[in-house]
Every structure is written in C-alpha cells, then in structure tokens.
C-alpha cells in the first residue's frame, strides 16, 4: 500500500471513529446544500409584476 493510500485510509477511519465529527458534517452539509441554498433562491426571487 502506498503512503498516500495509507494516509487517506487513516483519515477515513478517523472520521468513522468520531461520531461527533460525523454529527457536525451530517448537520452542516444537508443544511447548506438543501436548506440554506433553497432559502437563498427564494429570497432572490424577483417580485412578480402584475400585468
């Protein structure tokens, strides 16, 4: 196994062993990708103009 493979396996293993980091990522990622981005899209909607 190369050094970089060992390093990346180690980082992934450390992530899997750390429920608090997983909790942080699990809350932040979908909140940004789905919720906050969705709200920003709504806030940036131009007001409809009546005919």
């Amino acid at each position: 196994m190369s050094k970089s493979e060992a390093g990346s396996g180690g980082a992934l293993k450390r992530l899997m062993e750390n429920p608090w980091l997983l909790l942080l990522l699990g809350v932040v990622l979908p909140t940004i990708s789905y919720t906050v981005w969705g709200w920003i899209e709504l806030w940036n909607l131009p007001k409809a103009v009546l005919p």
Binding site: L12, K13, L15, M16, E17, P19, L22, L23, L25, G26, V27, L29, P30, T31, S33, Y34, T35, W37, G38, W39, E41, L42, L45
Partner: protein, 582 residues
C-alpha cells in the same frame, strides 16, 4: 464459551463488566449479551407506544384503501381528508419514531455493554412524545386539523395540532440526545474495545439524520404554531414547503438508515451472517449521513421558486451518492447471508443457500422480503421519480405514494415487524403463541403492501392524482375521465389494503397476546424460530475465498440492475411520447 441455540446465531458470551450500577443489568439467556434494565424498560414503553400508533394508523389505512377503491368509495370527502391526516402522522412519524427510539436505546446499551445515559431524560422524552402524539390525534378526530400531514401553508389547523407535533419532535430529539450520551459514556468508561459494532454505527447514522430532521421540524412548525395563535403572520408558502420537507422526507431517511441497521442485525441473528467488509459497509453509512438528506428536494421539483441548479444538484449529483450507499447495502446484506449459509454447507449451485435459508423464521422472512421490496420496489422507483424530467410526469400522482409505500411500509415497517419477533422473546422475555400464524404474517403483509404499491404506482401512471378523494372529479364542469385500466389498479390497491391490514392486525394481535399473556422464558433461552439441518463436513465445498464467495448475490444484483435499466428507460420513452417532437 458460546451460547448456541438451534436456529439462532451463536454469540460469544462475555462477562458483564460494563458501567452498570449493581442490579441494573442482566445477561440475556439466549445471546449471552448484557441487557441494561433501565434501557429495557424504555424499550418496552416505546415499543408498546409504537404498536398502539401503528394500530391507529393501520385502521386509517384500511379506511383510505377502501375509499380510493372506486367500487367501494367508503368515506365521505370530509372524513377522507381527516383520516388521511391521521394515517400519515401516525404511520410516518409516531409509529416509526417510537420504534426507532426503542432501537436507539436497545442497540448501544446491549452491544456496547453500557448503561443508558439518563433515565430522567428518557422519561421526559417518552412523555413529550406520547402527549404530543395524543394531542395531534385528538385534534384531528375533533375535526380541527383537516390539513393532511404536510399541512401546507396557507392551510391552517388548530394550534394544538402544531404544538403536538412540536412536543413529539422535541421528545424524539431528547431520545436521540440520550443515545449520543449513551455512546459517550460507553467510550469514556471503556465498556467496549476497538470500533463500535456495525449495527451501532448504523444506529449512530440514523441518530445523526434524526437530528437534522427534528431541527427542520422545529424551524418549520414553531413559526407556523405562532401564526396559528395569532402572534405572527403566515409563513411564506414556498419557504414552508422547502423547510417542512426537511422534516417530512428526512424523517424517512432515518427510517432507511435504521432499517438497514436492522437488516444487518437480523442477518446475524437468523443466519449468523457477518458483514462481508466492515469498512465498505461503514463507508456506505457515511454516504447516508452526508448525502441522503438532500433527497428532500424531490418534493420541490415542480416548485417555481427554486432554480434548476438547486434541484439537479440535490436530487441527482449529491443524492446519487446516497443511492450508491443503498446499492452497497443491497449487495453486502444478502452477500453476507450467502457467505454464512455456504459456510454452513448450503452450497448447492447458485441459489442453494437462498432456498435453504430459514424462511420459516419470521425474523428472516420479514427481513429478506423487506430487502427485496425496498430494493426492487422502492429503490428503483425512487431514483426514477427523483429524476427532474420524469418527475414532471409523475409529480402529485398516485405514483408517489406507490413509491413510499414500498420504502417505508414494505421496507421499514416490515423490517421492524421482523425484528419484533426477536424483541418480544429477548426483551419482554415472553414467547409468541400461534407460531404458524407468526410465520404466515410477514408473507401476508409483504404480499398485501406490494399489491397496494403496484396498484398505486400504475394507477398514478394513468394520471390518478395522489391525496384526492375522488379520482373521477364527479360533478366537475368538464368530465375528467379515468382510463378503465386505472380502475383495475385502484381495485388492486383496495384488495391489497385488505390483505395488508389483515396481516397488520394479525401482527398486533400476536404481539399483544405474547406480551401480556405469553409464556415467560426468563431464565432460559428463547424458543428457536427454526432448527438448522446439519450438513456433514464431507459434503461441503471448498472455495478459495469463502469469505467473499457470493456468485448468487452477484446474479441477483445483475437482475436488479436489469430491472432498473428497463424501468428507467421505459419512463424516458414515455416522457418522449408525451409530446411529439419532430
């Protein structure tokens, strides 16, 4: 030393050396695992509450099924929407969340040999969940919350409706917090060595997803409740829909995660299977944690307020990483069963291991049927319906409930039913009566819910809308007309609802009879659900890599991918035929 029970897995017994107070732990007479007495009490409470809400939701289900069947059309419009609200909340929130909290209390305390973090928090959580759910059910029956589960603004329900859901969600969040406290003290007190078992890892993934879910519930429903009591104006409907689906769909991802963890647990309990690759299975759970929650965007695919980039990123690029995780589990779970069965000598041909599997064990049949129904039914339809272009044809049709009845009901509920056939003898320490009926129940439920989902999906393909009381739109100025084929499918839905409800009612009857009147097995091992036939060592084949020899699972996976491709391209062809493009 190992505890061996015919038909059950041999689990190495180990000395109880956790962090329990004296008298607060017992050793399971079947598995040899430690059982925290405090956690056991709350597992029982939540399991009983779950089954009660399952019954309420189930009664709603049969009434709805017999209303959507045009030949019967049982309920009035007013009661249809009332019961639809009741059914959705009891099945998708109250039954499932109660059972999941029971799992979150049982799994770490037993598998990590630790005490529950806080009995006080467990009481507060249980009381809030129960009071909240009862408030919601009361106000629905009172006719003051006919807003369906989604309660889309500007529909307005009585304040008690929103407050009840908020209390239930806060109670569940406290239960999840108690879970994290439990794994914290287990690590602090060194009650286990090395990494946590895979089932605990899966439960942790479910708990993390639950946190996101319940936070979205609070963010959505607290302002909506304040609006209902006149303290603020109505929330923006577009904002409400996006944020509410953070509760509505993410809660179903908690189910997926908990269900997969239960699959691994039941594969072990019923066949002695071990994960083919711990690292790959854990990696798949990490993909769930990071990416599965964005699937909520499926519900917003026809909303004009958000752009294509948001829709396509969340439902395709990011979401497909979670689909990849499901396909990994869909391979490793049956693969682990195949490895275990072949090692026992059930090694004939491609599928000898599957034919010889313990189908007479409701724990196994329920789990494996759940796996098949979820994968072939829910997985394939989910990805197809989540494709933006195809969603335009299917949105708000009965195809959508057709999809989630094979994920949440045929998948999660059936898996939880299968687990119950072990929870009652191992936690309540009571034996089931009428074991032949127990064996029949999982098959009957699987058949019924599959009929329901097929009926819904194909009726939806004919354009029958979801939620609507009268598919024919009787009395409309212009006749809408529904294809006769849709009537056949709605009839299939109705018959399936009768079969599924019969199985559900049977399940509840069997559980109640066992819990309250069953023969105690305290002090001895549970009665095995099946006895394995011994295979002589000489008759067993030798493979170069027996831990990864899964040719049958590879073929099954190929069949799955072929079905996926056919359904996917059939839908694109269908979309192409909607308009004539020349």
């Amino acid at each position: 030393m190992a505890t061996t029970v015919p038909g059950a897995m041999p689990i190495p017994s180990r000395p109880v050396k956790g962090n329990h107070s004296p008298g607060e732990v017992r050793t399971c007479d079947t598995t040899g695992l430690p059982v925290c007495i405090t956690a056991q009490k709350f597992v029982k409470l939540h399991a009983v509450a779950a089954v009660i809400f399952l019954l309420i939701g189930g009664v709603g289900a049969i009434l709805l099924g017999l209303t959507r069947w045009p030949a019967v059309h049982l309920l009035s419009a007013e009661w249809y929407y009332r019961i639809l609200t009741l059914h959705g909340l009891n099945m998708l929130i109250f039954w499932i969340l109660n059972f999941e909290i029971a799992i979150l209390y049982f799994v770490p305390t037993t598998l990590l040999n630790t005490r529950l973090y806080s009995a006080g928090l467990a009481w507060v959580g249980f009381i809030l969940m129960t009071v909240g759910a009862l408030m919601v059910d009361y106000i629905i029956f009172a006719g003051k919350a006919d807003v369906l589960m989604t309660s889309y603004v500007p529909l307005l329900a009585h304040p008690v409706f929103y407050l009840g859901i908020i209390l239930h969600a806060v109670g569940a969040l406290i239960g999840v917090g108690n879970y994290f406290g439990t794994i914290y003290i287990a690590k602090r007190d060194h009650t286990y060595e090395g990494s946590v078992p895979l089932v605990v890892f899966g439960a942790t993934a479910a708990a993390i997803i639950a946190v996101v879910t319940l936070l979205h519930g609070a963010v959505t429903l607290i302002p909506t409740w304040l609006w209902s009591i006149g303290l603020m104006g109505p929330p923006d409907p577009g904002w409400y829909r996006i944020t509410w689906w953070g509760l509505g769909h993410m809660s179903q991802q908690v189910n997926v995660c908990a269900m997969v963890a239960v699959w691994y647990l039941l594969a072990t309990l019923t066949t002695g299977a071990k994960p083919i690759s711990e690292a790959v299975c854990r990696g798949a759970f990490v993909l769930y944690i990071l990416f599965i929650n964005v699937a909520s965007a499926h519900h917003i695919l026809v909303d004009p307020g958000v752009g294509a980039s948001w829709k396509i990123w969340n439902t395709s690029y990011a979401m497909y990483l979670a689909v990849l995780a499901s396909m990994i589990h869909g391979f490793t779970v049956p693969g682990s069963v195949e490895v275990a069965m072949r090692k026992k000598g059930y090694d004939q041909g491609l599928f000898g291991w599957l034919v010889s599997a313990p189908w007479s064990n409701p724990g196994f049949s329920g789990f494996f049927l759940s796996l098949v129904i979820f994968g072939f039914g829910g997985g394939i339809t989910g990805v197809v319906l989540g494709t933006q272009q195809i969603n335009i044809m299917a949105h708000n049709t009965l195809r959508i409930p057709g999809h989630f009845h094979v994920t949440v009901v045929g998948g999660t509920t059936l898996a939880f039913m299968a687990l119950t056939y072990y929870v009652v003898p191992l936690v309540f320490r009571k034996e089931f009566y009428a074991r032949g009926l127990c064996r029949l129940q999982t098959w009957l439920f699987a058949a019924g819910i599959t009929m329901v989902a097929v009926g819904m999906s194909f009726a939806g393909s004919y354009g029958v809308p979801r939620r609507t009381w009268d598919a024919e739109h009787s009395g409309a100025t212009f006749a809408v007309g529904v294809d006769p084929g849709a009537h056949v499918m709605l009839g299939l839905l109705g018959v399936g609802a009768i079969v599924a409800f019969t199985a559900l009612f049977l399940f509840i009857g069997l559980v109640v009879a066992a819990v309250f009147f069953g023969k105690s097995n305290a002090g001895k091992a549970m009665e095995p659900w099946h006895v394995e036939r011994a295979v002589p060592q000489a008759a067993r084949s030798a493979h170069a890599d027996p831990d990864h020899y899964v040719p049958g699972t590879v073929v099954l996976t190929g069949v799955f991918l072929a079905c996926f491709a056919v359904y996917y391209f059939a839908n694109w062809k269908w979309l192409a035929d909607v308009w004539w493009v020349r």
